[in-house]
Amino acid sequence: MTPPALTFAQPHSFPGKLIIVEGIDGSGKSTQLLLLQKWLESKEFNVFFTEWNSSALVRETTRRGKKSKTLTPTTFSLLHATDFASRLYHEILPPLKAGMIVLADRYAYTAFARDAVRGVSREWVRKLYNFAIRPDMAFYFKVPMEVAIDRLLGGTRAQLKYYEAGMDMGLSPDVSESFRLFQSRILSEYDKIVDEYGLITMDATKDIEAQQNQMRQLVSQALVNYKPKRGTHGKRASVFWRRFAVRQSE
């Protein structure tokens, strides 16, 4: 009656594929994942996208906890694990079982890096996520601290948020300085994780197109024996048109 316990240690046996991206804020991982999604869809693959900390169940609570600044390293970690569990069950497993390609923006490795920096036990957070399934491909977008900061401050997200900057850790009263210290600690955690779990390291200082080409090449190779299942034809207009490379004029 109960499903067999999933374990992070072994590869999954579902017909679908799970591809995830990791990296610090400003590494460009979300952009790369979006471009990968466009490409896969244009190749007629059924793609499902899911992102960190987005389940309806938990998002509201996390927001409340962040606002009142009462989150501790442990409740912070547990809330994200709850969100992850809920998404795994509702968003990741069903499409994988149906044979789809699931793209995840951040995965358990984000928790391994961030939560360890916040001060929870490294062993504990790994055991906590033991119910997760191992991705088929995991990309780590490696970027030097300064590049990430330039991208964040100069670009799309002008303001650094309290928890993103690790202000709860009391590293520095200055938000930018706190962000710098916090993220550089996360960077060194990621370095360990890359070795521990064999993530594919991408040079995130390269041009967007160059990175994307490399990513597509690697994904192509990994999908050689993958047989996509056909659902509906052209379920979304944009996908339909992209497939025939017709410019949408009207």
Binding site: L57, T61, T82, S86, W124, K127
Partner: protein, 258 residues
Amino acid sequence: MGNAHQYFGDGLPYVNLSDLKGKLIAIEGTDGVGRSTHIDLLQEWLEVQGYGVITTGWTRSNLMSKTIEMAKQGNILDRWSFSLLYATDFADRLEHQIIPAMRSGFIVLADRYIYTALARDAVRSGDRTWIRNVFGFAVVPDLVLYLRIDVDTLALRVIETKGMNYWESGMDLRLGVDLFDSFKKYQSSLIEEFDKMAEEFHFQVVDARKPPEEIQSNLRSKIQPILTNGARAPELTQESPAAMQSLPNEFPTSPLKP
């Protein structure tokens, strides 16, 4: 204070337990067994003796109580989210209520403790390792009082009082055709888990089928030995005049107090 407090597993690396002067007493037992009634009486009894007491209850954290209610209404919980929501609630109370209170020397009466979560998860999954690892950050209580009851008596008692509800009947598990059927199967499995843990974690077992007065005096006699001035405290079976001896003891018997 005598023996130092410990974590169950990996613990909270950023919280030192060496200065926890208070005591942690957990009251466990399945739904409808009368835990909260007895906790009220115990609190009164302890306060009369001059002990500072706080109580903490399952799902009552500021952070999570609303979320858990919402989740329950949706009935959409998978095993992991179900257990992790409770773990988050527990962590919030542990760090914001239980540990600070113990640091200030309070006696903490916990209405349910992690054993409830361990039992519920084990019944749902058959796997005991993961959930125990998750709760590795919990502090081991000084005493666990287990109000034990058999499922037939429990079923009668619950019907007589508040009635059976969806979650206490484990309806999410589809164990039986109706509420009663499901309730009995679910609660039997829980009791079985509690019985196993009673041995493993050295619970003090109290027969919850006895009359309330008897249960209460049983609970008190099991708490007495861990109290600071336990050796000299008078026997309190009722609200006897001896209960008025409530001045704080300025010279605790424990020689280890710094």
